[in-house]
């Protein structure tokens, strides 16, 4: 027993120490070398390390001329590792993209280019991270009419096999030199400024999406990041043609699983257009229209989409959906068998929509998460929900915060919950229920 413990601790300590001295390894190796070989006494400065091995020289030469003559796969694993460890990150992607699969090289590339890099969100693949962020960068700084589309298209064949997710956090509008602006403005943000012209279209996704065979996730924001005091409404324009292009691009990309469009002023018309192209999409699982201007018509279109796709997660928080829209969604939900999560936070569905959703919950057998926070719902909804909770046995999380359910509504809801066996969490903060609390069943 004692021995076992001792061994275990010693092992741990050893592994820790080795980890600590990991970076010192070359020095140690040198010291070992010195120990092994005898030193010639005449020159005290002299040591064997001063004479590099021929193989080392060769490898250094290979590294030096890697740009002209990339030799890598022909090397033995030991030398390959040596070369990869020393290759400069400034090599053109056309050489390295499809040749080097070693993670450590791409790690060096990423760390050299970006200060913060969390590889865990990229399936722990530095290469994927590098190419995704590289492509995102190119798209984010793409100025229509000013930048050549070739800059994007050139990168596509290099990164098409590695890009799985695109998080485009900004899209620049085309430059319109306008005499109305001051010199300062233009000098400050020449690329960001724009004016009402015949075309305010952004980057056309059609040229890109159908060329990425592994793309699974797309996040788009039609707007400019960090514009500061150079704010212009023009910078945040999502034109109808943009929407058209985007919808067609989405239609062409059959591998897409997640699509998010935030803060892009998507109104009913554009929403209808996007949804019409996403109908019967073979792989789409998550749709996120957060922070847009969708109202009842758009909600109706989304409701139609719900039963003509494999959507598992739908987020339409912070839109302007009202009762009728919510009713349409509730109608779709009552027939749906795929949706697991629905987020309707910060809409105005009111009691009308709330009751309709509660009735839909009675029939639905798949929904697990439902967020109805900040929806202007009152007591009747609470009554309807409590009835629905008695019947429903799949819902696990229900968020009703910021609704004026009132004291009576809270009581009714508590009663309904006591008959339910599946609900894990119900958030009723700021709902005027007698005491603010989050009740956890089970």
């Amino acid at each position: 027993m004692l021995h076992w413990w001792f061994r275990r601790f010693s092992c741990m300590s050893r592994s820790q120490s080795s980890r600590r001295t990991g970076s010192m390894r070359p020095v140690n190796a040198a010291a070992d070398g010195r120990k092994m070989r005898s030193i010639i006494a005449e020159d005290s400065e002299w040591s064997l390390e001063l004479v590099p091995l021929l193989t080392t020289l060769c490898l250094q030469h290979i590294i030096k001329h890697f740009r002209e003559k990339p030799i890598l796969d022909e090397l033995t694993p030991k030398y390959k590792a040596y070369v990869l460890q020393r290759l400069p990150t400034s090599l053109p992607l056309t050489i390295t993209a499809n040749l080097i699969s070693d993670e450590s090289y791409w790690k060096r590339c990423c760390e050299g280019r970006w200060a913060v890099s969390d590889v865990s969100t990229y399936d722990n693949s530095w290469k994927r991270m590098f190419f995704e962020r590289h492509l995102e960068n190119i798209i984010e700084f793409f100025i229509p009419d000013a930048t050549d589309t070739k800059t994007v298209l050139d990168v596509v064949p290099l990164c098409r096999n590695y890009v799985k997710r695109l998080k485009v956090s900004q899209l620049l509008p085309p430059i319109r030199e306008s005499p109305r602006f001051d010199e300062d403005d233009r000098s400050d943000c020449a690329s960001d400024t724009g004016s009402e012209g015949p075309s305010m279209d952004h980057f056309d996704f059609r040229i890109l999406l159908d060329k990425l065979p592994n793309l699974e996730e797309l996040n788009v924001v039609y707007g400019v990041k960090g514009c500061g005091m150079n704010f212009e409404w023009n910078l945040f324009e999502f034109t109808f043609r943009d929407c058209e292009f985007l919808a067609k691009a989405l239609h062409s990309c059959k591998t897409l699983q997640v699509f998010r469009i935030h803060r892009s002023k998507v109104d009913d018309e554009k929403c209808c257009l996007l949804v019409s192209q996403l109908l019967d999409h073979p792989s789409l699982q998550e749709l996120d229209f957060s922070h847009n201007h969708i109202s009842d018509r758009g909600a109706r279109a989304i409701g139609k989409l719900l039963n003509r796709s494999q959507l598992k997660r739908l987020v339409v928080c912070n839109n302007q959906i009202r009762g009728p829209g919510a009713q349409a969604l509730a109608h779709a939900l009552s027939k749906n068998i795929t949706l697991l999560s629905l987020n309707l936070r910060l809409n105005r569905i009111g009691d009308e929509g709330g009751q309709a959703l509660a009735q839909a919950l009675v029939k639905n057998k798949t929904l697990v998460n439902l967020h109805l926070g900040g929806n202007n719902m009152t007591e009747p909804t609470a009554v309807a929900l409590s009835q629905a909770l008695v019947e429903n046995c799949t819902l696990k999380n229900l968020n009703l915060s910021n609704n004026k359910l009132g004291v009576d509504g809270g009581k009714v809801l508590e009663e309904g919950m006591s008959h339910n066996s599946s609900l894990v969490e119900c958030d009723i903060r700021l709902t005027d229920v007698s005491q603010d609390r989050s009740i956890t069943v089970q």
Binding site: S290, N318, N397, L430
Partner: protein, 687 residues
């Protein structure tokens, strides 16, 4: 845990799933730990530790597990609390936002109402103005018109004022909302700060609690370990003590045992010493006796030694002699061996020589044999040729002789008929019919004879009888011969080769016996038919001899075959026969040559034959002929004389005629001219 949000109240994660997922992960880890602990206990059970320790361990693990679970629950609670704390801000912001929205809606509604009212009132005013315009048009007087214009202007200004007021109001609202916006932004910034602060707090508190929990868990583990250690140590000590006690006890036992054994040893020593003394005395006496005996034995031994020495000397001498003899013999042997070797070599050389000689002789023999065969062939060939030539010659000669005989006979006949005038009778001429050389009747072989005899059975009795008549000449009945042959066939089977017997076994009886007989005859040496009959005769005679000797036996057996030799006697008889008739060997040799193809012609009768032909005219006739010859010769001489005379007469007659002619001439013509000349010429042609 939570990422900093860009806008408070706008971007928010679902609180539920994250907590739950965290929960699940922790649960999974907890389960894993539990499973690991269980496995450990199991292995320990298998190792066979005592039950008490096992229970203790179980309890201990349960304790540590409890600690882990407790800390886990604590952490979950802490997290959910922290999350609530953080999300509280979000919820509050959400609430504010929704409030703002309702306010905004309300304000919008109010504004819209106000605007609508305003629009309505301004519309009314505008209508009033337009109405007044028509009134103004009606006005005739410029004064009125001016008044109207003024009032219109006032109204217009009123509308404008209203509008301006509205605009300013709206502008104020805008400003207020701008201010509000700025305030909101500031508040949101504050909220975000708060959020971040709380998050950081949360993180630090979580870190702290994690650390504490870890410490606690480690402590619990340490404690567990320590208790376990002390327990085990105690157990070890206890066992050590037990062990040492046991050893002590064992040592004491060993010591007591040692003492006992020492006592026993002492006793045994004393007893053994006494025994030793008695034994020693006994042994001493025995030694005395033995010494005496030894003296005697020594004496004997000495005596024997002397004797043996003498004998040894004798033997040595003998041995020497023997050695000499042996060497002699050896030398002899060697010599003999040399001789033997010489002889052997000689013999070998002789043998070799002989062999070569033999070889040469053999070669000669083969050569000669070949020559002989060739010669034979040649001889046969020449014989055939000779025979042919002989025959031809014979025929030619015979023809010649026959022709001569014919002529002679013809001459004789002519002589007889013409000269003598006697009737000619031709002498008997047997040879005239015959042509070619005289053919000798060949002797029939024994086997043929045997075949004939055997064949008779199949023929009728008549034939037999008729044949039998011919056979009586040889003195033995044909039937008896046949019987004898059958008997031979039965009795002398040993002379026939077994292979032959096998071959003939499927043939008919007659053929079988025939072949057998053939073999037997060749063995005995019987060649010709004559031999067969002589043998048969001999056997018959022998039987008669035997009958005299063994009459009793004969009487019994003759009932069946009265004139038959007894089969027991057959062999003896045959032996005798072969002894008597050994002559056939020579005959055999001569006949063998004939067999080879050189058929010797018997020319004994040839002379007679020719003689007979030559003597076709008998002596008497010859004498007659000689007489006739002389007579004819005489007659011939007479005739010649007569012929001469005839010629003379003729000549004379001619002379006569000539002379007559001359005479005539003379007479007729000049009779006197040449009378003297005629007579001279006549003299020139004498007879």
């Amino acid at each position: 845990m939570l990422q900093p949000e860009p806008f408070a109240g706008e971007e928010a994660d679902e609180p539920g799933p994250s907590v739950e997922s965290k929960n699940q992960a922790e649960r999974i880890t907890a389960r894993r730990l539990r499973i690991a602990a269980r496995n450990e206990t199991k292995t320990r059970q298998e190792l066979g530790e005592d039950s008490q320790g096992k229970e203790d361990i179980q309890e201990e693990t349960r304790k540590s597990q409890k600690e882990v679970e407790k800390s886990k629950r604590h952490m979950v609670k802490l997290q959910s609390d922290g999350l609530e704390l953080v999300t509280n801000i979000q919820v509050a912001v959400d609430a504010r936002e929704s409030d703002r929205r309702t306010e905004l809606e309300e304000a919008c509604r109010l504004r819209r109402d106000k605007l609508e009212n305003e629009a309505k009132s301004s519309q009314e005013k505008f209508e009033e103005i337009t109405r007044k315009w028509t009134d103004a048009k009606m006005k005739q007087t410029p004064l009125d018109l001016r008044d109207a214009m003024n009032s219109q202007q006032q109204l217009c200004e009123q509308i404008l004022g209203d509008k301006n007021k509205l605009i300013s109001e709206l502008q104020q609202e805008l400003k207020a909302s701008d201010d509000h916006y700025v305030k909101d932004l500031k508040r949101q910034a504050k909220d975000i700060d708060l959020l971040i602060e709380r998050m950081e707090e949360q993180i630090s508190s979580l870190k702290k609690s994690y650390r504490e929990d870890l410490q606690q868990i480690e402590n619990s583990f340490d404690e567990e370990r320590r208790t376990l250690l002390t327990k085990h140590r105690k157990k070890w000590g206890h066992q050590m003590k037990e062990q040492s006690e046991k050893e002590l006890r064992n040592m004491m036992q060993g010591l007591s045992l040692l003492e006992e054994h020492e006592d026993l040893l002492q006793k045994l020593r004393v007893w053994k010493a006494e025994e030793y003394n008695t034994d020693k005395i006994r042994m001493d006496t025995e030694v005395q006796n033995l010494r005496k005996k030894l003296q005697e034995v020594k004496f004997n031994c000495h005596l024997n030694e002397e004797k043996l020495d003498y004998k040894y000397e004798v033997l040595k001498k003998r041995e020497e002699e023997n050695a000499i003899l042996k060497s002699h013999l050896k030398r002899k042997i060697i010599r003999m061996q040399d001789v033997l070797n010489n002889l052997k070599s000689k013999c070998a050389s002789q043998e070799k020589q002989l062999k070569t000689e033999e070889q040469s002789l053999r070669n000669d023999y083969t050569r000669i044999k070949q020559q002989y065969i060739d010669m034979q062939k040649k001889a046969r060939h020449f014989a055939a040729l000779d025979a042919e030539r002989f025959e031809k010659l014979w025929l030619i000669n015979e023809d010649e002789v026959k022709a001569l005989a014919h002529r002679v006979l013809e001459t004789d006949r002519i002589i007889h008929e013409q000269q003598l005038g006697l009737a000619w009778v031709s002498p008997p001429l047997p040879f005239m019919e015959r042509s070619g050389p005289i053919e000798h009747k060949t002797l029939r072989t024994a086997s043929q004879a045997a075949a004939d005899t055997l064949q008779e059975e199949t023929r009728g009795d008549l034939v037999e009888e008729s044949e039998g008549l011919g056979d009586t000449a040889s003195g033995v009945n044909r039937r008896t011969v046949k019987r004898i042959l059958e008997l031979l066939c039965d009795e002398l089977g040993f002379l026939v080769e077994s292979k032959l017997l096998k071959l003939v076994s499927h043939l008919e009886k007659n053929d079988q016996s025939l072949i057998k007989l053939d073999a037997i005859f060749s063995a005995i040496g019987i060649e010709s038919e004559k031999d067969v009959y002589t043998m048969a005769e001999f056997l018959m005679n022998y039987r008669q001899h035997g009958r005299e000797q063994r009459e009793l036996m004969e009487e019994e057996e003759t009932t069946n075959n009265s004139d038959f030799i007894h089969h027991n006697d057959l062999l003896v008889a045959l032996k005798e026969f072969t002894a008597q008739y050994c002559r056939p060997h020579g005959v055999q040799a001569s006949q063998k040559s004939s067999v080879l193809g050189l058929i010797m012609r018997d020319d004994s009768e040839d002379a007679a034959h020719w003689e007979s032909i030559a003597n076709v005219i008998p002596e008497s006739k010859l004498r007659l002929w000689s007489a006739l010859d002389t007579a004819i010769n005489k007659y011939h001489t007479v005739l010649t004389e007569r012929a001469e005379l005839l010629v003379e007469t003729q000549n004379v007659q001619q002379q006569n005629t000539e002379l007559r002619q001359l005479l005539h001439l003379y007479t007729t013509s000049k009779a006197s001219a040449e009378p003297e000349m005629q007579p001279t010429r006549m003299r020139q042609f004498p007879m």
